[in-house]
Structure formats: structure tokens, C-alpha cells
């Protein structure tokens, strides 16, 4: 167990070091719905995400390692409407006692549109609100990298920003579909992200990037899964996370890193409680 934790820490440290080597990353790190994209422009965000979780139930250890490559692509159709596609490739290792299972490959592709319904600009500041809605397409392998169902989600995102700080908050609801006899529980999520610029003495955007410290919070409530219309008592529940991070923003790219730490772990029954997640990310604007 100690070895495993050391490996997790080394993995996190390595990602952090790699990112800091390029100089670090501003918009929320843990959600893509607030990504800024203008009319006829493209934004690409590439994230590497590591999650680890482990516990011991009745003397049987469980260790879960997940590596994800998540590519988010956004295009501004006009000044108010943007379309996004998120492509995840995952590698999941689950060890239960002496039994190990591995699944890797393309997971479910997510696509959504965002429509801005409110905008109020001032000198060096803005307030915007948008609605979004989309679908999780079951492109992954059922039972391995996907549960095989088509899921729908929607919500509202609010952004308030100035040259020194940004706030993004979103409410999101996901209605999960059913595949064969399995239906994952529906999910309600509340996310908030505060980014504060720390190198605000030099304001020349042409020669200096903007360094932000980031603190994000997330509350997720998930219904119980259903198997053959019967609720799985070892699923669903409530989890909350705090995510400190850094963002370094230039005119053409942004680098970012964050560590998502579970602060409330109240999943039902014997469901594996969430562990720490490390995120390293780059964004490019074309």
C-alpha cells in the first residue's frame, strides 16, 4: 500500500514538474463548458489526467489506477454559439485482492453546444451566462471503457471576469441511459472555479503571460445504479472535491495543472470512494 501511494505521489510530482518546466496555466481546469472560443475560431485543450483510489473491504484490498488522455476541441459557430467535442482515451487498472483487470482504449465521446444568453461588458471586465446541452456517445467498448449507454446532459454556466480574476460557476445534470440491464445513476453536479492573477504588476500582455492561482470546488450527487430495474445499494452517493491549481496564460497558449482532492466521500455501501486526481493540461487558440 505504501509503495502504491509513493507511486501515486511520484506520478503527481512528475506531471507537475513537466508542466512547470514549460511554465505553468486561466478558465476552469476541471470542466470544459467555460472554454472561451470566438466566432470562427478553434480552441484545443489536451489534458493528461491521473486518478488513483484504494481501500480495503473485509480484508480484500482494492486499487484503481486510471490514466486518461482527454482532448477537447471547440469551434465558434458565431458570437453566441459554440460546439465542443471531447475525446477521452483511458487506461484503467483495477486490482481486487490478487485479481487484476485492465481496460484501455477510446471511451465515450462527448459532444455539446453552448449558447450565450447574457453578456455585459465593461473596460477590462465581463459577465456572461450560457446554457449548454449535449450527449455522451457510447463510442467506448461496452463493459470496459464504456457502460454502453447514450447519456444526455445540460446546464448553465456563469462567468464573471476581470483582468485580475475570473469566476466560473456551473450547474450540470446528466441523465444516463440504459444498456442491456444496466443503468448508471443520474448525476447532479455543482462546479465553481476562482482564478486570481498573481503577477499583476506587469500588464503588458504582448510581452508577459498571466499567471493565475486557481481554486475549484465541486459537489457531485449521483443516484444509485440500476441492474434489471433494481437499485444497486453499493453505488451512488455524494462526493465533494477541492482543486487547487496554477494556470499560465499567453496570447496563444495556456498551460495548467491541478490536483483534485476529495473532501467528502460519502458513496453508498461498498462503492470505491474517490481518490486524488492530478491534471496537466495545455490549451491552444487558433
Amino acid at each position: 500500500m505504501v509503495d502504491k501511494n509513493v507511486k501515486h505521489l511520484l506520478g503527481a510530482g512528475l506531471l507537475f514538474a513537466v508542466l512547470m518546466g514549460n511554465i505553468a496555466v486561466a478558465a476552469p481546469i476541471t470542466f470544459n463548458t467555460a472554454l472561451p472560443v470566438s466566432d470562427e475560431e478553434i480552441i484545443i485543450r489536451q489534458q493528461i489526467i491521473y486518478s488513483g483510489a484504494s481501500d480495503n473491504i473485509l480484508g480484500v484490498s482494492r486499487d484503481l489506477d486510471i490514466w486518461k488522455s482527454v482532448t477537447a476541441l471547440g469551434y465558434g459557430i458565431n458570437e453566441n454559439l459554440a460546439i465542443f467535442t471531447v475525446v477521452p482515451i483511458i487506461n484503467r487498472n483495477m486490482k481486487t485482492g490478487n485479481l487484476s483487470t485492465n481496460a484501455s482504449g477510446l471511451a465515450d465521446i462527448k459532444t455539446f453546444i453552448r449558447y450565450q444568453i447574457y453578456q455585459n461588458d465593461g473596460p477590462g471586465k465581463t459577465t456572461r451566462m450560457a446554457g449548454f446541452g449535449g450527449v455522451n456517445i457510447p463510442t467506448g467498448k461496452t463493459g470496459e471503457t464504456s457502460d454502453g449507454s447514450t447519456d444526455f446532459f445540460g446546464g448553465i454556466i456563469l462567468t464573471r471576469a476581470s483582468t485580475n480574476w475570473n469566476f466560473d460557476g456551473q450547474i450540470k445534470y446528466t441523465a444516463n441511459g440504459q444498456k442491456n440491464a444496466f443503468k448508471r445513476g443520474n448525476e447532479s453536479a455543482f462546479d465553481a472555479s476562482l482564478q486570481y492573477r498573481v503577477n499583476n504588476r506587469n500588464n503588458n500582455v504582448n510581452t508577459n503571460g498571466y499567471l493565475f492561482t486557481v481554486l475549484e470546488a465541486s459537489l457531485v450527487y449521483t443516484d444509485r445504479n440500476e441492474i434489471a430495474n433494481l437499485a444497486d445499494v453499493n453505488s451512488g452517493g455524494t462526493a465533494a472535491f477541492l482543486t487547487p491549481g496554477l494556470q499560465y496564460a499567453t496570447k496563444r497558449w495556456i498551460a495548467e495543472t491541478a490536483i483534485k482532492i476529495p473532501v467528502v466521500k460519502q458513496l453508498n455501501g461498498t462503492a470505491l470512494q474517490p481518490g486524488v486526481t492530478v491534471i496537466a493540461s495545455m490549451r491552444f487558440n487558433f
Binding site: 466566432d39 453578456q119 477590462g124 476581470s162 475570473n166
Partner: protein
Amino acid sequence: MRKILLISAGIILLASNALAKDGQDQVQYDLRVDGMTCPFCAATSEKALKKIDGVSKVSTNLETATISVCTDGKTDMADEKLTKLFKKKGFTYVSKTKQETCSVSDEKKK
């Protein structure tokens, strides 16, 4: 030695003259644009402005919400055009002032 000094001085004088003419041939518009808060916003706005024929240099100051644009003096920089351009990019054009010389140092990228 004297030849080298004379040639060097001549080159410096020619270059200075060319630079001075470069600024004199151009006019500068300082555009007040609201809603820009980040380096990405500056890049998006500058990219759109650089697509206008006659625009040579663009530079953004996020703190004063100002984009300085150098043009050849014949470029159409009407308020209606700028309002439409910045609305498409997600920002709000407010006003502009004009100067008879260009002091922007950022070169237009080809």
C-alpha cells in the same frame, strides 16, 4: 577606420530616416473595446484587426481596454464596421481616437 565609421554612420542615418518615414506615413487609431480580460481575448481581437487591408501594427493594453492600430490612412475604420467586427469576436466596441503618427511597436505578422 575612417571609412568604416563613415559607412556605419551612413547606414544608421538611412535606417533612422526609413523608420521615421514608416511612422509618418501611418495613422494610429486607439480603440476602446470592453469585455477583454485575458491574453486570449487580445489575440482574438488583434487577429481580426490584422485581416483588415491596410492595417500594419496592432497592440493591446488590457488594463486600459485599448487596442492601438496603425493603418495606411486610407483604411476604413468606421464605427459600424468596428462594432460588427468586435461583436463577432465576443467583445463590445465603444469608441476610437485618431493620431496622425503611429507609435505602435508590434509588427504585423505576415
